[in-house]
Amino acid sequence: MKYKYDPKRIREVLGKKVQFLLGDMACVYGGLLAGCSFFGGYPITPASEVAEGMARRLPRVGGTYIQMEDEIGSMAAVIGAAWGGAKSMTATSGPGFSLMMENYGFAAMTETPCVIVNVQRTGPSTGQPTLGAQGDMMQVRWGTHGDFEALALAPSTVQECMDFTIEAFNLSEKYRNPACVMTDGEVGHLRERIIIPDEKDLKIIDRVTATIDKEKYIPFTNSQTRKSKVPDFATFGTGYRTYVTGLTHNEKGFPATDKQPDHERLVKRITTKITDDADKLVMVEQLNLDDADVAFVTYGATARPAESAMEMGRKNGIKVGLLRLKIVWPFPDKLVTNLAKDVDKIIVPEMNLGQMVHPVREFAENHCEVISAPKIGGEMHLPMELYKYLEGK
């Protein structure tokens, strides 16, 4: 199947502009709108609906769906498809995410754009398959071996499941790095109203493809056509005859495994191509922070009860605000440092035993108190439970 991106056709397949939709299905919509033409996946609760939605729709827009034999294979096929010239994605949950880790690192090392949706459930191990959690927030950042940079977004609503999947594709295309949508069983299985953008309102970023003369093309170096550390992308079949390896490689892509400078040059480039843009990669929502003494720093599903707790606090005269991270990785370090200077206390509610609280604490730099507000077991925080943190318990 030769796929051709046709947003008009995609809109036709998706149907009405306003829909009452499942979070997982919104990820399907986002992927299709972004131009995803390959999905390789393996069923797992609570992410299976993404695969099911893709299996139904991809053939109708000219894309390919394959149910792979496991998540290792899914991630592999997704990377292969990207090198074959497609935009590609997969979706999974904890156990599958763990299986993907080796090839997730391969994608980072080989600068392969692709998207992983992780509908998080509780862990470790098989945990509570149907119940949501935020337990993989550090795994997405550090879960594969070696040094790399993660790109990860955390949606709080069904609308954001769609919007952030599009955004994940955009980031992954722009930086030639895997990008993850870190949703969870709560948001993934939530039904909410969403508005689907019209063709003309779609903001889609595509990879910069190689155009330079074939003899002059260098596959793993700064762009040869603009100022960027992201190389121009010569996907397979375009005549550039690129060799791609997960081994440490030189600029030509050839293995260069025994000298320190080769490794440092490569890994510094593939990490700083993202960290250099840290300021551009801040995507947050800030509520009531102007006069706040205390702030929630939150993301994903947990932002919902945190916002309710904030409203309760405000009604009772507590000067509380909220910072919601939409892009979680790269972490908005400067923003958090500045916030810590302005408030006395930061509360970090999470559906884990405390993960994102660590970078918050690191970048608060002791300017204020940082408190973890964990809850595990597949139940969301109640607003009242979080409100208690405002009163100092």
């Binding site: 030769k2 109708r60 592999a76 074959g84 010239g85 497609a86 090839n103 791609v244």
Partner: protein, 293 residues
């Protein structure tokens, strides 16, 4: 008519500049398989811009690096799954996978099984040297009973994996196994595999003098080659003996490794079927639209 080229001319055409010398030891069989692949590609006259190579990890998996073509050197055992994605993105590609016995029959077995079952259009070239060569000679799933490996120092007690047999059972469209001492059949089989739609497996028995030969009293490459002659038999001969031979003759060939073309069928390949599915959906939709008018 194809013009017959010399080995030098072939190498000039197909080898990637700048990747020389290879990592291969003297007497290693991997280079021979590469040369046979070049012959097959040359004879088929394929557009090398559309021939894409993938491999896993191992000495054998280093082969795509030496070819002047697109190549994806992936993770250990996963090349076939990567290649599934490459092919899905562009079914016009000819996708060739180089893999080893460890890479394909060991860690990657599950991907192999399912790609063969789905009949994904790809050509898998598995070089079986009975050993994990790259990591220094640990036990491979294809190792003959009694053979020595660093992790089977007292002799292998596991039954060896017959990967060609497995591929046949899975319904692969083309399955052949050859040694590498004679060029004609291997080249012919690579060509046939490449021309096939659907899944094809080419298994080559090739020596690893360094990690296998030395430990198994076959360090001398001549002895190594002789071992293949003594321990293999053509399928046709095997079947003849099993049918008409004496008990003594049967006992002699019973444990030999059979060589030849095991399977040559034409089940629809995955992408052929997928395209039909897409067409079916389109027709249905067009009809529904017309019905509304």
């Amino acid at each position: 008519m194809v013009e017959i080229k010399t080995a030098d001319e072939l190498n000039k055409k197909f080898l990637r500049e700048g990747m020389w010398p290879t990592i291969f030891c003297n007497g290693c069989g991997h280079g021979v398989v590469l040369e046979y692949t070049f012959w097959a590609l040359e004879e088929l006259g394929l557009d090398m811009d559309k021939v894409i190579f993938a491999s896993g990890i191992g000495c054998s998996s280093r082969l795509p690096g030496y070819i002047n073509a697109d190549g994806l050197h992936t993770t250990h055992g996963r090349a076939i799954a990567f290649a599934t994605g490459i092919k899905a993105a562009n079914p016009d590609f000819h996708v060739i996978i180089f893999t080893g016995d460890g890479d394909c029959a060991g860690i990657g077995g599950n991907h192999f099984i399912h790609a063969a079952r789905r009949n994904i259009d790809m050509t898998v070239i598995m070089i079986n040297n009975f050993i994990y060569g790259m990591t220094g000679g640990q036990l491979a799933p294809t190792a003959p009973l009694g053979s020595i490996a660093t992790t089977a120092p007292y002799g292998n007690i596991e039954h060896p994996f017959d990967i060609s047999n497995l591929a046949c059972a899975l319904g692969a469209n083309y399955v052949a196994r050859w040694g590498v001492s004679h060029p004609y059949q291997p080249i012919k089989s690579i060509k046939e595999g490449l021309e096939k739609r659907g899944f094809s497996l080419l298994e080559f028995l090739a020596p690893c003098p360094t990690a296998y030969g030395r430990r198994n009293k076959l360090g001398d490459i001549k002895k190594h080659w002789a071992w293949y002659d003594d321990n293999t038999i053509l399928i046709e001969d095997y079947e003849k003996i099993m049918k008409y031979g004496t008990e003594e003759e049967k006992a002699q060939v019973k444990d030999k490794i059979q060589l030849g073309v095991f399977q040559d069928i034409q089940k629809p390949g995955f992408f052929e079927s997928y395209e039909k599915l897409v067409d079916r959906l389109r027709e249905k939709e067009t009809k529904a639209k017309e019905g509304k008018k």
